[in-house]
Symmetry: C2
Subunit: 342 residues, 2 copies
DNA sequence: TTGTAAGCGTTATCAA
DNA sequence: TTGATAACGCTTACAA
């Protein structure tokens, strides 16, 4: 199937290429209704499909959005095993498609080389999830395209942010446990990096403890990677070595599920021996047994929102006017993994 | 950051644009070592980044691969909630990136309009998962680019296929149940469409029954959508209305997990009252409780393989020589959801 | 209202 | 070994 060009259409319609271009780009005011009709028909008959590379070349708009998600540390594969990202992607893709944009989904090696990608591809914008080294963000700014950050606390008005109140989430989870009578509450978490979402949740955890005048015990913090495996390890440790602990707040559902399994591996039960609260409310959270009590953030909506903000920033690019972060709502979903102590 | 073009590099190096192009494309035989060095240095100093749109325009190679996955029926969102697809994507992306390609991930509305997308973007190839109406494949062929099909049984030598032996998988699952003494085995499945993977698994199920001289009872086939929700419904039905059924084969893990929940909803237990075997071995299969007995197909490897085949087809495009389907291995993972009847 | 033609950044042909 | 230069398909002044 060889390419039908604007030239072919113009010949068939008996007009110039300029006229065709005008019609196809909606500048119909510039040509007679007569011509409009002929061009439309010719394009239709020939089944004309514009070449976006050519367009991109002339007006620097590719209708292409870069979406970056973190990758696993060992392999260099996308972190799609965490359903949170899958759901986010679903939302992003749906919204972009609706507006005729396409998404280039990729992982990046230590935040390097993405500047190249975005220039090569003439990306119209990007949605970046996860956190990377400072230099990565500096690079990104050089490209001068709108960028939406999801899951990072970069205080830079250049970037659009679609976030949640992680500190509050951490607080809510911990508070719920406290309200149910728990006083020795473990925290199971990925690496607490400065300005990362995890740090905020950690801060919320501490605030809830403090408010209840409970002692913050660093030994009750299990910090490593955001994986089921580590959750499981932590769960085992808690069940086997820390009899005083009656509850755990895991900073992601994936880890919470691991914790539950670990506790079981040691012959104990959830929530009878240890209560667990997760974070995210990924779709399997209500499917596992027992259904997980967790802090719900709607990942799909967040994806839609991120794409939405990016698109409006692109469409009326008033040179990236700094904006307020969009904060998505959070709620506690009380299912079956928390026991009320009396 | 304004664009550095090949022109800028040529000026700085004091050579022609042609020379620069040669050097940058590895045709170094055509120019003197002297020139090569100067060009390299100039490009380096200027931090030159080629514009792929321009390249695409001149030589019809975009280094862009289209990846299509099915979408949910109600919303029009990607079916990434099924971890099988997430894992597949991980494999595909990793392999493509390794070779300098990018992936455009999208869902499609009833198989329509993808021809446009592929022409607009000058895609170098595509990986299509799921099954669509016949006309979609016919359209695809017109574009004359290499295409790899995952999860479909289209008997057309134009397409590359990376599949599994679904019939065998269905047989293995059912046989395992029979070997454990079960004789009334339900089938819980998505819509059985002609030439779909599900039909093959269904055929395997029937073959195993026949081989064991068991009666095939259509009433024991629960057929609807590939969702957790339907699995749950089926599970309830089985537990409540079909006391004779002692085991179920679900054609996907997602459904199997639903079945288990449904059975529990009715106050019965897995595997004590009903045994369950799934299909896929998605990552949560070993994480749920009880860990699911299932037919394992390695989705990540399958993604890598699909990308791999596509890339070799693209790189030495001998005009799409038809090839043998690649069949990926299958294995039974025996965990805790099958009870041995004695 | 219409058409001509000059780019956009590359690659590739063909003389020099 | 080099360097002009003509494409590639499109948009958009500018002229007619």
């Amino acid at each position: 199937m060889k390419r039908i060009t604007i030239r072919d259409v113009s010949v068939r319609a008996g007009v110039s290429t300029a006229a065709v271009s005008y019609v196809l780009n909606g500048r119909e005011g510039k040509v007679s209704p007569e011509t409009v009709a002929r061009v439309r028909r010719a394009a239709e008959e020939l089944n004309y499909i514009p070449d976006l590379s050519a367009r991109s070349l002339v007006n620097n708009k590719s209708k292409l959005i870069g979406v970056v998600i973190p990758q696993t540390e060992d392999q260099k594969q996308l972190l799609l095993q965490n359903p949170f990202y899958s759901e986010l992607i679903c939302g992003i893709e749906a919204r972009l498609r609706q507006s005729g944009y396409h998404m280039i989904l990729s992982g990046i090696e230590k935040g390097e080389g993405y500047l190249d990608t975005s220039m090569q591809r003439n990306l119209d914008g990007a949605i970046i999830t996860g956190i990377y080294q400072e230099s990565f963000y500096e690079d990104l700014k050089k490209v001068r395209m709108p960028i939406v950050l999801v899951d990072s606390y970069i205080y830079d008005s250049y970037f659009h942010v679609v976030g949640i109140d992680d500190e509050l989430g951490g607080y809510m989870a911990t508070k719920h446990l406290i309200d149910n009578g728990h006083t020795n509450i473990a925290l199971v978490t990925g690496m607490i990096r400065k300005d990362g979402v995890v740090e905020k949740r950690f801060l919320g955890y501490k605030r809830a403890l403090k408010e209840a005048e409970l002692f913050y015990n660093p030994d009750h913090v299990f910090e490593h990677s955001v994986t089921y495996q580590f959750g499981q390890e932590a769960g085992k440790l808690i069940a086997a070595k820390c009899p005083e602990i009656t509850a755990a707040f895991a900073t992601s559902d994936l880890m919470a599920m691991g914790v539950i399994q670990g506790i079981r591996d040691e012959g104990k039960e959830v929530p009878e021996h240890v209560s667990v609260v997760g974070f995210d409310d990924i779709s399997i959270a209500r499917l596992c047994t027992p259904p997980l009590t967790t802090i719900k953030q709607d990942a799909v909506s967040r994806g839609i929102m991120a794409a939405d903000r990016l698109l409006t920033a692109i469409e009326k690019s008033k040179e990236g006017l700094p904006q307020e972060p969009t904060i998505m709502p959070l709620s506690l979903i009380d299912r079956d993994t928390v026991l009320k102590l009396t």
